[in-house]
Symmetry: C2
Subunit: 230 residues, 2 copies
């Protein structure tokens, strides 16, 4: 789901847009940690452009919440407090639930097959002990559900929120037992979608995203490692 927002127009890639996308990926992939400074001149020279497109890219990131600006003191990658993170997970659970619910009612046979394939691949990655691969394929699983939901706005919102949370989830994925649990939860979602049971699919997806039981303290503890400095 590289581009939910892709429009009909071929849109010539401007430096500004390219940069935004690059910076976004750096943040989402954890190469730019929350709290890290986004120095305009440094980024400009690093990407061989002038400060103008850099500034515009940063403005976009700020508007989407990935970066924040404090007065005239430059931008930095957004640092999310734990209360806010919990709220975001709550919304995320709801949105994922909606996507799964729609997917149960609207998915094509090909998309359901695709989900099974991805699930198989996830099992493989887990058994092979490849957390990085697991992380990527897992994202693919969710992207496929968004697509299968045949929604525009909801899928886009869910995807965006997922990316905002990504920097904080990176470390969680690798925690022992989490991958195994994910597989079980995914299976529940898949089966509900295959059964065209919207309610069950919604519930399964919500449960999957929600931070329950032991995961919550683990998650909170892991957050500190995601943030720069302190």
């Amino acid at each position: 789901m590289k581009s939910v927002k892709q429009k009909s127009a071929p849109r010539a890639a401007t430096r500004s847009d390219t940069l935004r996308s690059q910076l976004e990926n750096l943040i989402v992939d954890g190469h730019l940690k929350p709290g890290e400074r986004l120095d305009e001149t440094e980024l400009a020279s690093r990407f061989n452009v002038s400060r103008t497109p850099v500034r515009e890219a940063i403005k976009s990131l700020v508007a989407t919440g990935l970066a924040e600006i404090r007065g005239r003191q430059g931008a930095s990658v957004t640092v999310l407090s734990i209360p806010v993170l919990l709220e975001m997970f709550e919304v995320m659970a709801t949105l994922e639930g909606m996507c799964s619910g729609f997917a149960a009612r609207r998915s094509t046979a090909a998309q359901r097959t695709r989900l099974r394939e991805i699930h198989t691949e996830l099992i493989r990655a887990n058994e092979a002990g490849e957390p990085e691969a697991f992380y990527k394929v897992n994202a693919l699983f969710h992207d496929t559900i968004y697509e299968a939901s045949h929604t525009n706005f909801i899928a886009e919102q869910t995807w965006q929120l997922r990316r905002r949370l990504a920097p904080y989830r990176l470390r969680v994925t690798y925690q022992p037992g989490r991958m195994q649990a994910t597989l079980v939860e995914h299976l529940r979602i898949i089966e509900a979608i295959e059964a065209a049971d919207g309610k069950a699919a919604t519930q399964a997806a919500m449960d999957h995203v929600k931070l329950l039981g032991d995961d919550l303290p683990d998650f909170i503890a892991s957050i500190q490692k995601s943030i720069i400095g302190d």
Copy 2:
């Protein structure tokens, strides 16, 4: 709820930020209709600034979804399709529901009193036949609920989505019977919050936002008037 996102820092108002806010208000208030062009040079001369802050403001609007850019062909106020609008209302209902639910559990006595006051004012505006006043006070009612929810992210998201939908709702508010119905629905929400009944509050708010029965075709019919050109 002028600024949910207001941070501790005093943040010196930059021209770029001021402009973004101004343009946002123009869009939300319907003075810039969906589809209307956002000419950089024209806006620059109109607001007596250079193109740079104008561009940055537009970039922000695009990132938040209020405006859209097609390639190198300039920006314009976002035109939402009916399917997307319906999705947005669905998410809106969920978010409003969450806010009300939280408000039922977290609101202060002062905030509950405030809701009653606003409700009284709404009744007055209705009886006096002042739809513009009704519209404004109505927004205040919802802002107060967001505040009473004592959430950060959720309230902010709800508020933002509300603003994105605003241009399309302007005409709906004035439809006959809608104000009367709103009052009844608001009362349900207030009573649920006063009873500290989270579930009931959530449900009441969702029902209030959802487009039900006759409202849907009315709404769809009214949209055309909101859009420029065609």
